[in-house]
């Protein structure tokens, strides 16, 4: 359910993109009809599945077991702290929703990138399907023609459906992604830790200054954060539960991350690497590994096809890919500039420790990493927690390398982008922190 809305928006965007590629002027109605048919099919499958009462649930081992256990426990202390954490979550959620609605109402057109990149592209889709490729013209280099189109596609699909550029729709999309990211963290921790950890982690996410600030701006960074968090979390769940459909979901979500922002392409590369590492160290049979690989690859293939089509036929140039710079130039820029490296490291330290942005999240992440290394190896190895840590570290390491090659002045680049880059893996970092520290709480009947 938590994945339904974001994945649905990604699917709408994919349908719209291919409908416009296939029949530009007819793409509008074609994409709407396709989604109606897909929706009808999904509904039919859901109804037939529900009628088979004896069927084993697909994700049985990933149900929020801690919540079920809480409802059956007689431990007053655990019920009390869970109830207290739930009250905190309710309070935080209420204030978060009020804050989000008021900020969105007052700034309904969104921030700079929303107005001049994401919604600008959506206008091309909506206003003139026959001329939608205008968004890739060189004159509009400022709007980065090579950026992936999940967000513009989702916005335009809603506008096409409504028949007008309804202002509330991009804000609603931003809201959906913020809420769903918090709820995914909640679900994941309910399935792997205790209820109060899940409630507190979700509250922590919705009060963190950086997420509260960037959420209503309608930038693509929060949707990317959702897809990265969900893909990484789903991969961990798949490895723990050994359920192939979860590998499919993890792959699909990683593909959608790449279809949201170019940074998602880096994440895709890292998650593929982590996936194969997880298969390598996991004691499962060769045919099972093969099956898992097929499911994972199938999941990410459709969004990846979108990107291949976009980068091959429509937007061949970009700041990085297709910029004309050679591999030797990239190597030299990355590894032969000590001053730049120092400035970037200082930048990471400065931006990660901004208390009003992160509430100490990154400090807690490194503390969890340190403690897990010394004393919590069980969570890292036996429970595969290393998947989360590796996804967070590799994602930010990738940004660290890429910052060396930016065509812009490095301090300006970090000032405008580094906080947003850190948003992407913050959700996974938060899950990791809670998984590690909650593992030190004495074993209870509430922990799955």
């Amino acid at each position: 359910m938590i994945l339904a809305a974001p994945v649905g928006l990604g699917t709408c965007s994919t349908a719209l993109f291919w409908a416009y590629c296939a029949a530009s002027s007819q793409g509008k109605w074609l994409s709407v009809i396709f989604i109606y048919l897909l929706g009808a099919y999904a509904l039919f499958r859901l109804i037939t599945a529900m009628s088979k009462t004896q069927q084993k649930p697909i994700f049985a081992r990933m149900e929020p077991a801690a919540l079920k256990a809480l409802l059956n426990t007689r431990n007053f202390f655990h019920v009390s702290i869970s109830a207290a954490a739930l009250i905190v979550l309710g309070f935080v959620l209420y204030h978060f929703i009020r804050y989000f609605i008021s900020t969105s109402c007052l700034e309904i057109y969104g921030g700079w990138d929303a107005r001049f990149i994401w919604n600008l592209k959506a206008k091309f889709f909506f206003r003139s399907p026959a001329e939608w490729t205008g968004m890739f013209r060189n004159e509009l280099a400022f709007s980065h023609p090579d950026y992936p189109l999940l967000l513009p596609g989702a916005v335009a699909w809603g506008w096409n459906w409504a028949g007008k550029e309804i202002l509330i729709w991009p804000a609603l999309i931003a809201f959906i992604f913020m809420i769903c990211t918090g709820l995914f963290i909640l679900w994941h921790l309910l399935a792997s830790t205790n209820p109060w950890s899940a409630f507190l982690a979700c509250s922590y996410f919705w009060v963190a200054g950086a997420y509260r600030f960037w959420g209503p701006t309608q930038y693509a960074d929060i949707p990317l954060c959702f897809f990265i968090t969900a893909s990484g979390g789903m991969l961990l769940a798949a490895v723990r539960a050994r359920e192939n459909p979860l590998f499919l979901l993890s792959g699909l979500l990683a593909g959608m991350a790449a279809w949201t922002k170019n940074e998602g392409l880096f994440f895709l590369a890292w998650i593929v690497l982590i996936f194969f590492a997880a298969l390598a160290v996991n004691a499962v049979s060769r045919p099972d590994k093969k099956k898992a690989a097929i499911f994972f690859t199938a999941g990410l293939s459709i969004p990846l096809l979108n990107i291949l089509c976009l980068k091959t036929f429509y937007a061949k140039g970009g700041d990085y890919l297709g910029s004309g710079r050679t591999a030797a130039e990239y190597f030299s820029l990355t590894f032969k500039s000590a001053d730049k490296t120092k400035a970037i490291l200082e930048g990471f330290q400065t931006y990660m420790t901004k208390i009003n942005d992160w509430n100490g999240l990154w400090v807690l992440f490194f503390a969890a990493l340190l403690i897990a290394g010394f004393a919590g190896w069980k969570i890292l190895l036996n429970k595969h927690g290393w998947i989360l840590a590796a996804a967070v570290i590799l994602t930010n390491f990738g940004y660290f390398l890429v910052l060396h090659t930016t065509p812009h002045e490095i301090h300006w680049q970090m000032e405008t982008a580094l906080t947003r880059l850190l948003l992407h893996s913050g959700g996974l970092a938060l899950i990791f922190v809670f998984e590690v520290f909650s593992s030190f709480w004495p074993e209870t009947e509430l922990r799955p």
């Binding site: 008021s102 003139s128 409504a162 509260r212 520290f437 709480w441």
Partner: protein
């Protein structure tokens, strides 16, 4: 580690988390006029003005979607001060392309005042064909 140390560590962690949640900077809800809520929910958008509306007077000059040059106080650089006018205009006129380079037959002139506009017209080879305010108007390419 012993159970006691584990318990202390976990308790310490939850205490820190609670403190951090409670200390979060107050980014509370700002008061919003009721009209805005209603305008959004109903889809009438009452109370909202598209930032691009300041360019509505120019719309009558553009019958087709042929690209038009957008002439500003200074030649185009992506992050120059005041560049937002250009981006806002482009967003407003989509799908018509506004070229920041003086290559098109028609130019939308959007300068701070007529003195700067005259200078820019001379530099870029346009003549003023219609006036829509101080330093604003439509130019036609002469060379």
């Amino acid at each position: 580690m012993s159970k006691t140390i584990n318990l202390i560590l976990a308790t310490f962690f939850y205490a820190i988390i609670c403190a951090l949640i409670l200390r979060s900077p107050d980014r509370g809800a700002k008061p919003v006029p009721r009209e805005l809520y209603e305008g959004l929910i109903s889809g009438t958008h009452q109370g909202y003005t598209d930032p691009g509306n300041k360019f509505s007077a120019f719309k009558k000059y553009f019958i087709s979607n042929t690209p038009v040059t957008f002439l500003m106080d200074t030649p185009f650089t992506p992050y120059a001060p005041g560049i937002e006018h250009y981006y806002t205009a482009q967003s407003y006129f989509v799908p018509m392309i506004l070229n920041p380079e003086p290559d098109e037959k028609i130019a939308l002139i959007y300068c701070s005042n007529h003195t700067i506009a005259d200078l820019r017209l001379q530099q870029t080879g346009y003549r003023l064909a219609a006036v829509e305010g101080d330093g604003k108007g439509i130019g036609v390419k002469v060379r």
